[in-house]
Symmetry: C3
Subunit: 138 residues, 3 copies
């Protein structure tokens, strides 16, 4: 069995954003030389997500509006987590809806994807350096 | 290390449905001959889910009602994704709540499940052909 | 390829609770002797979750309040699942938001985590014996 590990780094100036990282994950898979196995890609931070959905700007705008309805940023005083001096409690909740990680099949050296699957880094508390981990086994 | 890959196909006439695919996944595991490892089962489409929960019709009705509250289909004009000519933005959101994939332990040649765990395909935008991927390594 | 399996058992008196299980998962990893691979940790029950987030009491209080808004326990009659004699339909929904499982990279014999990642067992229907499964391959 072979394993491969790589980190991606982000520093998103906006509080919330969705970044398509599919080509960076494909690059890591190519570097690994692994042809058959499983690939894990996860946010290493708890106010961000890695998820698979559509690369369409209107949908990303819908995600932002929708998550704000489910877990509003304001008023920050509504969250007990923010009593610690943070103001990112909503980001911890949004990340639960969107998920921490994606596990992807690797077949014949490629991400084994359906026609529209793309991998995104979802940032809910930007303005600081954050990382995504890629681990491949096969 | 051994790997095994299989696709399941669906064409659900209703917009929304929950299909128990546990026996099909068990069949794939049996075909693989793998006794110890991990099994990934994921929707290959971004308006559908694979998730693990209870096989109880009342609960599935609750899922449908609840998801409609969280991410209503109507009015379709509330979603920017639908400006592209689609009317399935809500399906992309519902799939985030229910998840894309399940990863299941394989032990002694079986799905290593608790007493009530069952695997479901969740359709949120039916009426077209869709696929589920099973990938097993061990 | 090596595999390792271990169960953790819980019996939470309260209906809802969040238990940090990181050190128990680290202990299992240490017992396994696996240095490179993937670790799956999942709830074996469908009214509980395993998820990764922050070990901060205010945030856990926010989770509880928030999940109660998204999927209220009362009135229990609002859920068709409860027509079966159960009163835990809300727990099945809460578990979908928080997730069933976490998949963690194992690198150099350790959980390959970012600075704040901690693993939690989330109970949404306590008062009975429940289990968590840890499966490691590498």
């Amino acid at each position: 069995m072979k394993t491969f590990r790589k980190e991606l780094a982000f520093n998103i100036p906006r509080r919330e954003a969705y970044v398509n990282i599919t080509s960076q994950v494909e690059q890591a898979l190519s570097e690994s030389g692994i042809r058959e196995g499983l690939l894990l890609v996860n946010s290493m931070h708890i106010t961000a997500s890695v998820f698979i959905n559509d690369d369409e700007a209107g949908l990303h705008s819908d995600f932002e509006t929708w998550l704000e309805t489910l877990a509003p940023h304001q008023p920050t005083s509504r969250y007990r987590h923010n009593d610690t001096g943070e103001e990112n409690a909503d980001a911890h909740l949004k990340r639960q809806v969107m998920g921490r990680e994606a596990v992807v099949a690797v077949s014949q050296g490629r991400l084994d994807f359906g026609p529209w699957e793309q991998i995104f880094y979802g940032e809910f508390d930007g303005g600081r350096r954050k990382r995504v981990l890629i681990k491949i086994i096969g």
